[in-house]
Symmetry: C2
């Protein structure tokens, strides 16, 4: 069975030494009292839950999957999933970062995010149940009426109920403007909703007393396309005015998908037949309300791949130290053994370090994003709130697409370290690859993320937000530009920053003439932007490590951090050169291909 | 269910217009009579077998897998596999390129190779049964005694029996020097073999009357390590002197692996208990004899990924033309429809063209290699035979690793085109990804291939063979260097050729000082070499296409070929810039990482 040790030391490094969250929390009244010890204690406990309760269920979930009873329409989750969820609820984990007004513990998002990384490492399929719930909580918290909040938020906060997001239909995924599910207004102010949804993660299960579906549907006479979509709450069991459960609603699971991975999560076809629902937010403004949930979910998906990257790395590292096979090319290393452990081979190290550099870079970036959200929600200064919101909007597609693509590279590299054993199920490595693979697709494919980044977030405001990011990077370059020890990190980062500015301007000009230029360049552009941000965080992490070493700290952790930073800049960062060259070749070579694609 | 149309037009293009096999066959006495019509007719029939018989069994095989009866030790293959094999035998397909002396049809290897691509597209798991058999045939044909050939080759040729290669043991895969299976000589000249093998593809099944295991084992007093390994034939049923089947031998299937993919192929644990075997080749020279089989298998594995790339491409292309979702960024394309087909999006085209360029480049390279093997075996001029053997030895690790890595990229890209539907089993796309994934691992991991290329095939003879490849490329550059229409293909190819020479020299110097430099650079080096060779074939294909167009040929195939060549050089070839930069960073950044990998 795969192993997993919560990466508490690295989380502490990022939170306290790099991001200095304690200082940040001082400026956020709700969190001013949250100190390092509290954060560390929560993560230690959370890590135990992940490694002791969830990890042992990961392979079980993959093997058993979910089963649908076609008569009752009820879904049974894999053995142990329900009990683990009960423990999760009992431990108060769903409430961690929820609003105290509705029973939450009101802790910072950044703490919840670090906690989720560990849940995802231990069991991505299981973690999607509370993950989707939390997304539904956030959408209702922001867009629900007072009544809706009073009825639903306490139960979502406690974990008594769970939530889903019902967007996709058989004929529409990316293009929600095509959706057909209908909502008929009723005299009592409710709606009757009818239609069919597919790919609904955590859509039906046996873990909670009720399931709160957030459903996109069209009102009669709604405008065509995406401007005619409204959002509704459709609970599995209707709710009485006193909050108790009423009758079974007209919503049921019509089938479960058989998927490449995340077998433990029920990917449901949801059939709505005259189901009772209530409107969330304004009519025809459902997409905006749903976007709250989707943006949170996009960062959440990035965290899923971060989790998979970390756990795959830990297992590959352990195997590489244990597996004896061949001798080092530069001379025997383990004289007392029949062969050297495979970690002596440079290419095995390359694969391991790739996963490690992507995990640790992804951890720094995603926790930074979570901290930005805390600022956005809680900071006393409106300008800080606004700037933080803008920056997190820019970084969200990067976290989603770059971390999930990196997760694909990393889980495959870690599987490769195992040789033939990596392909065999019992070792668990190929499950990481399969589970991670969905992350590049759902919550908007990575192509969609790249269009969001380049088209909307960068070119859409003439690079204004990108400039703010550039300023943040520029400050580090300025600060460390004369530090010889930092040159190996700062020089490539500064060079890429300059290239990125030119590259963006160039793409802006091209896009002005032909919108297809955005689509042609966007995927490569996002990866370059990802490396720019990772480069920034790797330089920051190297900076902190160097300072500790200079101050006489002998913890080998800091040497390890420096070595990983060097590896990152030497072996992964150079990818940007090819990406820019490829992106610069323009749209024509893709678009003028009708005979090739005949 | 996935579709598959045998790519006969492109095969004909490569065979007749690019490689001009008809002219080549003139110099090979055995094949002098083989004309284009014969080749085309065989491939058309072979394509029918693949698409009509094997394709419908691909998903069945994935779902059912193989089952072991623990009492009888017999394995049942998925429904239809056995019947398909009977048809295969009935059609005479196993004999296609086998020696007429043992019942073979004596056709060129290059024809068999093209045929195998189609089998692999339709059903990789099934194709491994005859594929392994053919490998066993080749090893015995080259190293067997006259008696062994007489007893075994006719049955392997007809397909009445199948073969396996039994190398791996639980504690040794890459490092065969560690293997422990023992062979005790008997007074009658046979051996009694005892040990345990794992990961034996096609190791046990219900498709043939007998299974001929080629087993690596140690004689008593054999030297330690890889110099003490001998090769034995161990049939499932012993063979009487008259060729009829004798008693059940002491070899049985002890278990089947549960794998990520290729479920339809039985990956067997093979238990040898005092099994009767006969020696193949000389004592302690088993690895050399097995390498015949392994080299053929390595090219065969590349062909598996070529097959997966092609079939994934065809399905993604069809889906992209059919699936309506969103509008083109550059304006509505399908006014009569609610949305445009997703093929209008540049990034969807990028994904499709990636698969297409890798498939067609891979087809040209692998058929060229097969032709080199025909030359090596049949050419009248000894120098041509020797040169061909050298070149195919250089190209073998490239075909294995570059085509399988490309298959990974391509099958994942094609799955991504399907969005969420790609992750769902029923569409079959995720199976291509899972089936292809093993190809990067078995028959020597892709890291091992890269060490074979850089360490042995390139630096091992001071670049002599690489120079021959360079000469072949240089001739094309010379020939077309002044042709303006070819500049977009020839210029980058010529530039990479020059860079490769310097790069190789530089790595040679470094390796001289520290052998770990080879291990640090090898994987990137192989990918650069792969692009050099693909660049050569894409330029050749563009050259042929341009000439046809100039000659007034209006077949849109040629325009499509040019467009794909342009795409390849613009979007895939530039990867070489980053790869060289990354490889040049050297071993230190990988090796000095003990604290990072603590």
């Amino acid at each position: 069975m795969p192993i997993y040790t919560p990466p508490l030391r690295d989380m502490q490094f990022v939170l306290h030494e790099v991001l200095e969250v304690g200082r940040e929390f001082q400026a956020l009244p709700r969190h001013a009292e949250v100190d390092a010890d509290t954060v560390n204690a929560i993560l230690e406990e959370g890590g135990k839950f992940a490694s002791e309760v969830l990890l042992p269920l990961n392979q079980v979930g993959d093997e058993q999957g979910c089963t649908l009873d076609r008569e009752t329409h009820e879904v049974r989750t894999p053995a142990g999933f329900k009990e683990a969820f009960a423990k999760y609820v009992e431990g108060g984990w769903p409430a961690l970062s929820c609003d105290p007004e509705f029973g939450g513990q009101g802790l910072p998002i950044v703490v919840n995010q670090a906690f989720y990384e560990m849940l995802n490492s231990a069991n991505q399929a299981w973690t999607m149940y509370p993950g989707l719930s939390h997304g539904a909580y956030e959408a209702l918290h922001e867009h629900g009426t007072e009544d809706q909040k009073r009825l639903y938020l306490p139960k979502l906060t406690s974990g008594e109920w769970t939530g889903t997001m019902c967007l996709t239909e058989p004929h529409c995924g990316t293009d929600l403007g095509l959706l057909r599910t209908k909502a008929e207004p009723q005299p009592d102010g409710t709606y009757r909703i009818t239609g069919q949804k597919i790919f609904i993660s955590a859509g039906e299960h046996d873990m909670a007393a009720n399931i709160v579906h957030l459903v996109l549907a069209r009102l009669p006479d709604a405008p065509q396309g995406s401007k005619g979509i409204s959002l509704f709450i459709v609970p599995k069991y209707t709710i009485n005015a006193d909050g108790s459960l009423g009758a079974r609603n007209g919503v049921h699971c019509g089938g479960l998908e058989h998927k490449m991975g995340i077998h433990g999560n029920a990917t449901a076809q949801i059939v709505l037949e005259n189901a009772v629902g209530t409107l969330v937010g304004k009519p025809n403004k459902g997409l905006q309300a749903m976007f709250v949930m989707m943006n949170a979910a996009r960062i959440g998906v990035g965290m899923q791949s971060l989790g998979q990257t970390e756990v795959a790395y830990q297992n590959a590292l352990a195997y590489a130290k244990d597996r004896l096979q061949s001798r080092s090319l530069s001379g025997i290393k383990a004289k007392d053994k029949p062969a050297d452990p495979i970690i002596v081979h440079p290419d095995v190290r390359r694969m391991l370090l790739t996963a490690k550099a992507y995990a640790e870079g992804g951890r720094a970036l995603s926790l930074f994003c979570a901290l930005l959200i805390d600022r956005e929600l809680q900071h006393t200064d409106e300008k800080v709130r606004k700037d933080s919101a803008e920056l997190v909007a820019l970084l969200t597609p990067i976290v989603k697409a770059f971390l999930t693509d990196n997760g694909h590279i990393a889980t495959n590299a870690c599987m490769q370290v195992f040789g033939g054993h990596g392909y065999v199920r019992e070792w668990g490595m190929e499950q990481f690859v399969r589970d991670n693979r969905i992350n590049m697709i759902y919550e908007g494919t990575n192509t969609i993320q790249s269009l969001d980044l380049l088209g909307r977030k960068v070119l859409g405001n003439n690079g204004a937000t990108l400039k703010k990011l550039g300023k943040m990077i520029g400050q580090l370059v300025e600060q460390e530009g004369v530090n010889e020890q930092m040159a190996e990190f700062i020089n490539p980062l500064a060079a890429l920053g300059d290239q990125m500015t030119k590259f963006t301007t160039e793409l802006g000009f091209r896009a002005f003439q032909n919108a297809d230029e955005v689509g042609a360049a966007a995927v490569d552009y996002l990866r370059v932007a990802g490396h720019l941000v990772f480069g920034y965080f790797w330089a920051r992490m190297a900076q902190v490590a160097l300072r500790r070493i200079e101050a006489g700290d002998t913890d080998p952790f800091y040497q390890g951090k420096l070595q990983t930073a060097r590896f990152y800049f030497a072996r992964l960062f150079p990818e940007t050169a090819s990406l820019m060259r490829s992106a610069r070749s323009g749209a024509k070579v893709l678009v003028d291909t009708d005979q090739a694609l005949a």
